[in-house]
Symmetry: C2
Subunit: 300 residues, 2 copies
């Protein structure tokens, strides 16, 4: 298996759905449709010809991961990742141990779901010690890595936008995520490139190239101005200032062949009818992410 | 003159005010008290023993810069910088030329005011071309550099937090500002370190050391959670997650000896009585920026 490829999981039900033209890599990250049940989102993907889905743990609701995985496979979809593990930094050793245990459970849930990537949002600051929090993150990932490896799960370190450094992730740049992955030096550890979080970085192209061998996911949305909200202010692809097509080309050129997840935290979008959201997402993916009739096929 | 030192300007009026104990480097950036007249802010600084002030151009109001400068000197204060020039990136050549002309005027205003640093907020994105906008910024600074040098003015490139990359500054890291200053290679061009904008950066300590020879300003405020507002959400020093004392030590260790400006964009703070704001600012500066009875004197 070359890096960036996804292992097809044996589908319990019908064969993979036939994706819409050019949509071979498109994935719905369920944060985009938060408030809907997972099965509702799965059905909407199948209707729209979107072949991948990335559930959030808390959005599985009462559905056990294995059952959710079967429902996804039965609809002919595949899982591009499970969101999210992480939040390793905490004020006390007891809390840090709790976080690690929760991450071990998340690895199991991802495996039961049929994902081969668990996305890590690493955690913010318990106090003013940034270097200390970063060390806690490195220790936390190292602590769960053997279990992830044993279960064939890969851990995707997702650098978050620096505006989340205090409360969500002290890992703020792709360079830092790459360095952390290099230090951990495991086939089970890689990085996630989320356009919204990293687009502004003057070192982005170089770090995308460095990430090549361990890029485990590519997420798209857009940066709109004025930002409607720090947490819930992402835009639909094409509505903002990110050169998504250019970034997609760079990620592809680096060798990534996996799914492209649409992850848009936006209150107004969630209020729209589900099929309408999916139709817009598909159209904008073609226009703003693929563009110009370029090829962006999945090997997965 | 060693780098980082301020040239004392000949005071038109009374001798420099005697600063409060430990306040030798403390400066009020007038954004903190936006809504008040400059002269009102000057008087409040004098009452509080704050020896420096950094006016914003638009806050001079009807006051000509030379008159504002005299009023500041008459109160025994000194000007640590004028905010702000910049905004070089724009969609058309005509607009870019207008911006450059405005910056040439800003250099003159800074000189008339008695500042020796003009702070540059470089400008955001006219479209999705980040590299293009960054080139416009470099061209813009190069275009005004000869005039700044001729007038003895220094241009401080201020990297802004990446959340302002689209609308305010495509220069988002101290590393990028340092690289730009190095490329322009002029005694008239340096950088500004603003804690709020750069605190999250994993490369901060290294870049503060690199910036040593051309650091023209150090601004403090704090990062509070949850962020009340993207633009107006800064906190008072000590209320948030930034290790200001550590950063001040690093900036000092790199050789910076100039003023330390308090620049807090915060609606609630502006609503408080002026003397109350200054008293809190002085107390928090001592506690959260200096701390531990350390020395942080000005050579200026």
């Amino acid at each position: 298996m070359t890096p960036g490829e996804r292992r097809p999981r044996p589908a319990a039900g019908r064969p993979p759905l036939t994706p819409g033209a050019g949509l071979e890599r498109l994935s719905l990250n369920t944060a985009t449709v938060r408030g809907r049940g997972l099965l509702e989102a799965v059905d909407a993907c199948a209707r729209a010809g979107v072949p991948w889905i990335a559930p959030w743990r808390d959005q599985l609701g009462a559905l056990p991961p294995a059952r959710a995985g079967r429902a996804i496979a039965d609809a002919g979809l595949r899982v591009s990742s499970l969101c999210r593990g992480g939040f390793f930094s905490a004020a006390t050793a007891v809390e840090r141990r709790d976080r690690i245990e929760d991450n071990l459970r998340a690895v199991d849930e991802a495996a039961e779901l049929g994902a081969d990537v668990l996305v890590l949002v690493c955690g913010g600051l318990p106090d003013r010690d940034l270097a200390g929090a970063r060390a806690m993150v490195a220790d936390g990932i190292a602590a769960i890595e053997p279990h992830a490896r044993a279960r064939g799960m890969r851990l995707g370190i997702e650098p978050l936008h620096p505006m989340f450094a205090a409360d969500r992730s002290v890992i703020t740049t792709l360079g830092e995520a790459n360095a952390l992955a290099a230090r951990l030096d495991s086939p089970a550890v890689g990085v996630i490139v989320d356009a919204y979080h990293v687009w502004w970085d003057p070192r982005l192209r170089e770090e995308i190239a460095v990430a090549a061998r361990h890029t485990l996911g590519f997420h798209v949305s857009d940066w709109i101005v004025p930002l409607p909200d720090v947490l819930d202010g992402r835009g639909m692809m094409g509505d903002g200032f990110i050169d998504l097509r250019g970034m997609r080309r760079d990620v592809d050129a680096a060798g990534y062949r996996g799914a492209i997840e649409v992850e848009i935290f936006n209150q107004a979008l969630r209020a729209r009818p589900l099929d309408d959201v999916l139709a817009t997402m598909v159209a904008r993916y073609r226009e703003a992410v693929l563009g110009d009739g370029e090829n962006a096929r999945s090997d997965g």
